[in-house]
């Protein structure tokens, strides 16, 4: 009997032995090609559950990727918590236009995290609700054959959106307890959103925590400033979970697994063999074909070569190393799939 895409992805993230790994993008993948093919485009697809579901399923419908995924950016939680957002256009993603709270470590002026909305209100606000509703639709239309993946934002990253990331990072050096207090206050919102995605039909929650990358935080700071809160918000969920962190995550791969997630997603900045060695089968490895090069700017041949390198190294799920750029050529995504599925 032919294995369904859903069964293959679930087996892969549980590190079962397979004839080949699945090709699936758990980070964002909603390209211009997918928008044209599906008829569901940005910016409407950020706020309309049906359009979000249609575009999220286009990765399987039009490119043969082996999972379906929504939402499409890392601003929906910040918006639901009160940050002003520019919704962008068909070719540009939503952008944060300001912050919610005063947090100035240079002047030692800190708001307290005591006026945040009720979690139930948060879950029913704007695009957080949209994404939860989209999960229900995707589960209904594609859930039998494909894994449904719901994306959300990590607590340190979301906290940076509310407070100003640069100021939050500054305070990691000067007032680390203040930073931790805020991330601790935000983590329950991340957890509630993740659980709501699962309850709505998601098989996997993929959390992106880019502001905790080694380009920003010292690896030794990761467990205290981000990891312990990711454990609460993602690792403790009752479902499959994938943690994505951008950049050269090699020094923090063990800490990423310490959060209790099912698997981790890493960029091409970690050579595939090195990632596999460090991961040491502690969980699934997802990645790590480069997004700018070769997916966005390279050739199909270069994409195929990178995909095979990740497969040969032993990645469990072959995927883009980060969010797939919106302008990525259709042929490059097809090459990613074909290199693995044949």
């Amino acid at each position: 009997m032919v294995m369904s895409c859903r069964d293959r992805v679930l087996a892969a993230i549980n590190q079962e032995t397979l004839d080949r790994p699945p090709v699936a993008v758990f980070t964002t993948c909603d390209t211009i090609g997918m928008m044209k093919a599906s008829g569901a485009s940005w910016p409407e697809a950020h706020s309309d559950p049906q359009k979000m579901a249609t575009l999220g399923c286009a990765q399987a419908d039009y490119f043969g990727l082996e999972s379906v995924r929504a939402g499409f950016c890392l601003t929906e939680e910040a918006e639901a918590l009160g940050c002003p957002i520019d919704m962008g256009t068909s070719h540009s993603s939503p952008m944060l236009k300001g912050h919610r709270n005063k947090y100035d470590p240079m002047k030692k002026i800190y708001d307290e995290p005591n006026d945040l909305p009720d979690i139930d209100v948060f879950l029913n606000t704007k695009r957080v609700k949209t994404t939860i509703e989209a999960m229900k639709i995707m589960k209904k239309t594609h859930g039998e054959k494909y894994c449904v993946v719901g994306g959300n934002t990590g607590p340190f990253t979301l906290c940076g959106h509310l407070l100003n990331t640069e100021n939050l990072v500054y305070s990691v050096w000067t007032d680390p307890k203040e930073a931790q207090k805020w991330v601790a206050a935000i983590a329950p919102y991340c957890k509630a959103f993740g659980q709501a995605l699962l309850d709505a039909g998601a098989d996997i929650v993929q959390m992106s925590e880019p502001s905790a990358s080694t380009d920003i935080l010292a690896p030794s700071d990761f467990p205290i400033q981000s990891g312990q809160f990711v454990k609460h918000a993602l690792g403790d969920l009752t479902g499959h979970t994938i943690l994505h962190i951008c950049g050269d995550s090699a020094p923090i791969i063990p800490f990423m697994f310490d959060t209790g997630v099912t698997g981790i997603s890493v960029e091409e900045k970690v050579p595939p063999e090195k990632a596999v060695k460090i991961a040491n089968k502690r969980g699934a490895l997802v990645g790590n074909v480069g997004c700018a090069m070769p997916l966005y700017k390279g050739t199909p041949q270069e994409v195929a070569k990178a995909a095979r390198a990740s497969r040969d190294a032993g990645f469990n799920v072959i995927s883009a190393g980060c969010g797939v750029p919106i302008g990525t050529p259709d042929d490059n995504i097809r090459a990613l799939v074909k290199a693995i599925t044949g």
Partner: protein
């Protein structure tokens, strides 16, 4: 404290990430009659150079760099107003910007800091800056260096457009264009007609300094 010790204190205050200490040392330097340009170049800038090198070598991370930069600016806030205006007329100039569509500006801010530490007068255009605004400002203000940054892959196109407009308006022959940010590469820099791409701010300033001597008229 003698002059040598004061200059060392200025540098040490930045390395120690201590804004108050940097401000106090700068006030002391002026009180002792040290030339403010010397206090900057042989004090604060030396300290920021140590920080920049340590950051490039992953000996320290962003939180420390941000606090060290704040320390340097605390000192500059005291020392810069004490420099006679004529003394800055020959200073090299730069603009920094995060290109349109992107609001992630920490990397750009570090480049701005290291350029300032390198003696450049920096006009920071901020984030989400349109290609035309970058090209027009470069030409209208006759800058020596244009530094463009993006964290996101889709906005690489905005970077390409900004460089194209600087070429189209004929100003590229008068300035150096450098780019940076995780999705960029040296290959991409060549492809879009920029002069250079760097992994870190310290290397960017070293490159720009080396080219300034040769190319900028």
């Amino acid at each position: 404290m003698n002059d040598k010790k004061l200059l060392k204190e200025l540098a040490d205050s930045v390395v120690a990430c201590d804004p108050n200490r940097a401000r106090i040392a700068s006030e002391e330097a002026l009180k002792e009659g040290i030339d403010p340009v010397e206090a900057i170049n042989k004090g604060l800038v030396i300290g920021m150079g140590v920080i920049g090198n340590d950051y490039a070598e992953h000996k320290i991370y962003l939180p420390q760099v941000l606090v060290a930069a704040h320390s340097m600016y605390e000192g500059l806030n005291v020392l810069l107003p004490a420099i006679p205006k004529g003394d800055l007329s020959d200073a090299k100039t730069a603009i920094t910007a995060v290109v349109q569509g992107d609001v992630h500006d920490i990397g750009k801010n570090i480049v701005k800091t290291m350029l300032t530490a390198g003696g450049y007068i920096v006009n920071d255009l901020g984030k989400d800056v349109t290609p035309s605004s970058i090209a027009n400002t470069a030409k209208e203000t006759s800058v020596n260096v244009v530094c463009l940054s993006t964290l996101m892959t889709p906005t690489m196109d905005s970077m390409q457009e900004a460089v194209k407009l600087i070429n189209d308006n004929g100003y590229h022959k008068n300035c150096i264009i450098t780019i940076g940010g995780p999705p960029t590469s040296e290959k991409f820099a060549k492809e879009i007609g920029a002069d250079h791409r760097d992994d870190d701010a310290q290397s960017c300033v070293k490159y720009v300094n080396s080219k300034m001597k040769k190319e900028v008229k």
